[in-house]
């Protein structure tokens, strides 16, 4: 960030103080090579930081009222305020389930076995498909005449088709389908980073299967799990296409990103949309920093996973 190298050509009468100054900078690691960082820094500043602060500033300049009136409008309207709980009610359980379900499965699959590569490749497929295609598939598959309900009816598990799309569950399933492989592959890579001899040492001391997992593997895995939770949560929190397509975007799955989108592209109220986006980013960062703060209390040593 602090690229403070002077331009190469300066016309100064005395040469020695300039050389001296440059040397002192170079001793601290600042020299001409840092210019290689300049395009990336410029890019982040222009395309990420500037729009972000522009949006932040815009959110305090509403079309009418005082600087905080757009925030007051958002929090004062129960329909808008409720989107926060809707989003959290979808994202937190989905992210938790994804992480918790990956642990036993990854624990079982961390060794080498035939077909492991096939399984990992198959798991990558839903990640690359993306949310839009998953939504389309879920509409076909879980719909009232879809294969899933047909199987349930054929097995006499239910008498009439279960309603699984255009409500909370449709969005929840789409978050699982795209989020679980993501969480699983991360947990698997963290788990395979843990030295297996540690567990074998515990086994020679007579620790059972559960004790080894509970006292050796899990503490080493926890930081990785925290990171995985954060990344999965970010994915689930920004759910937009599936909430519109397989959810009920006017009712129970009206997530906060829909509220922001509607303010920007249906009402053309950019200050209000920016305010909602800022609230969204703030809530997300609060949850992530709580998790990451808890993570710093965990052991993150060399023998642990890559986390």
């Amino acid at each position: 960030m602090s690229v403070t190298t002077p331009p190469a050509a300066t016309t100064r009468p005395s040469q020695s103080p300039r050389v001296h100054w440059r040397h002192r900078l170079a001793e601290r690691g600042v020299d001409g090579q840092l210019w290689l960082l300049a395009p990336a820094v410029l890019f982040v500043v222009l395309l990420f930081l500037y729009p972000f602060f522009y949006g932040l500033g815009l959110s305090f300049q509403p079309t009418e009222g005082g600087p905080f009136s757009d925030y007051a409008r958002f929090f004062g309207d129960a329909y808008q305020r409720g989107t926060i709980w809707t989003t959290l009610g979808l994202a937190l359980p989905a992210a938790l389930l994804n992480v918790l379900a990956s642990v036993p499965i990854a624990y079982r699959m961390r060794g080498r076995f035939r077909g492991k590569r096939l399984v990992t490749i198959l798991l990558v497929v839903p990640i690359t498909l993306g949310t839009v295609l998953t939504a389309q598939g879920l509409l076909n598959f879980l719909g009232p005449t879809g294969w899933f309900n047909r199987v349930l009816l054929a097995l006499h598990l239910t008498d009439e088709p279960v309603r699984l799309v255009h409500n909370y569950w449709g969005v929840f399933f789409s978050l699982i389908i795209t989020g679980f492989p993501f969480a699983f592959l991360l947990v698997l890579s963290y788990l395979s980073g843990i030295d297996p001899t540690l567990e074998r040492a515990a086994a020679t001391l007579g620790a059972g299967w559960w004790q080894r997992f509970r006292a050796v593997t899990l503490p080493l895995l926890m930081p990785g799990l925290a990171t995985t939770f954060c990344l999965t949560f970010v994915l689930a929190f920004s759910v937009f296409p599936s909430a519109v397509l397989v959810g009920n975007p006017a009712g129970e799955t009206r997530v906060i990103s829909i509220a922001a989108y509607q303010a920007a592209y249906e009402q053309y109220d950019y200050p209000y949309a920016s305010a909602i986006a800022m609230v969204m980013g703030f809530i997300e960062l609060v949850i992530i920093s709580v998790v990451l703060l808890a993570r710093t209390r965990l052991y993150t040593g060399s023998s642990g996973g890559k986390g």
């Binding site: 602090s2 729009p51 990558v124 690359t128 839009v132 389309q136 922001a260 949309a273 986006a277």
Partner: protein, 297 residues
């Protein structure tokens, strides 16, 4: 799938000595876990399969399979959604994003991998933020700014918006890759009189080529699949395939369901081709995220 189901019961040769003991203890749990995995894959198969079958079906209402099979939905979809132009735009956007993000990201990754300087931690955090934030959060202010400068609604705006998560991604995947290259090779080149330019072009570039290829393919996959940012900044003639798919789905009822499915299959097969190429060069876990959380001081 056949290879998967055969594993839990019979012992696999060539596994470590700890394996038989654990298998005796945790046998029901193993079945439960494999059951869950197979259930997940069955559902996944159903999701992808139902789109595929529907796209070839003549009519499909309340039956297990469609009443007849036809390929006309593909030509319908191709003409209705002007898919030729959409695919062209998708390719243009993704190739531009890949090229630019490599051009910006690799030199920065080099500096971050090799040098220590004041403010390095801050630089890491700033480069990490666009990956940690949901695209909608920064996408809406970004789209506002791009509209203000008249860039959004065109190809350039879509490319610029897609660069925001791609450049940090290149930086974060390339930094560990550069770290593993022996710095003495560069020193030797320097000693032999090579300048920064020729060190980069003739020493580092050949060594970095596999890593650059890997991160280029990852960025390509992510850009083709990126919905939110493209959706917020695209105009009518700069839609990528995934955005066009979204529009055709949310306007369902106007068009036949099957032609939307056909379009989804075209998108899927494009992604699968990319995926097959990607998996030749990279480890599946890298497709997810290769985020280096703890920068060395």
């Amino acid at each position: 799938m056949a290879t998967v189901t055969g594993i839990p019961g019979t012992g696999v040769p060539g596994v470590g000595p700890a394996r038989p003991r654990r298998r005796l203890v945790a046998r029901p749990a193993a079945w439960l876990i494999w059951g869950a995995v197979i259930f997940f894959f069955l559902n996944l198969l159903g999701i992808v399969g139902s789109v595929l079958v529907s796209s070839f079906g003549r009519q499909w209402f309340d039956t297990w399979l469609p009443e007849g099979f036809t390929a006309t939905w593909y030509s319908d979809a191709w003409n209705q959604f002007t898919l030729g132009q959409v695919i062209l735009v998708t390719l243009e956007v993704s190739l531009l994003v890949v090229g630019l993000s490599l051009l910006i990201g690799v030199p920065a990754a080099y500096v971050l991998a090799r040098r220590s300087f004041p403010g390095k931690r801050a630089a890491y955090v700033v480069f990490l933020l666009p990956i940690l934030m949901p695209p909608i959060t920064y996408g809406i202010p970004l789209a506002t700014v791009l509209y203000k400068f008249g860039l959004a609604g065109h190809l350039s705006g879509v490319v610029l918006a897609n660069l925001v998560p791609s450049v940090p991604f290149v930086i974060l995947t390339m930094t560990p890759f550069i770290e593993q290259i022996d710095p003495r090779i560069e020193s030797a080149a320097r000693m032999c009189g090579a300048g920064l330019r020729s060190v980069f072009l003739r020493v580092l570039a050949p060594l970095l080529l596999p890593g650059m290829l890997a991160s280029a393919i990852l960025v390509l996959v992510r850009t083709v699949g990126m919905f939110e940012l493209t959706f917020l900044t695209a105009g009518p003639d700069s839609q990528t395939l995934v955005v066009a798919l979204y529009y055709s789905m949310s306007a369902a009822g106007i068009r036949a369901q099957q032609s939307v499915d056909a379009m989804a299959v075209i998108y899927t097969s494009m992604m699968l081709v990319l995926l097959v190429i990607a998996l030749r060069y990279v480890n599946p876990t890298q497709l997810v995220a290769r985020v280096k959380e703890e920068p060395e001081p």
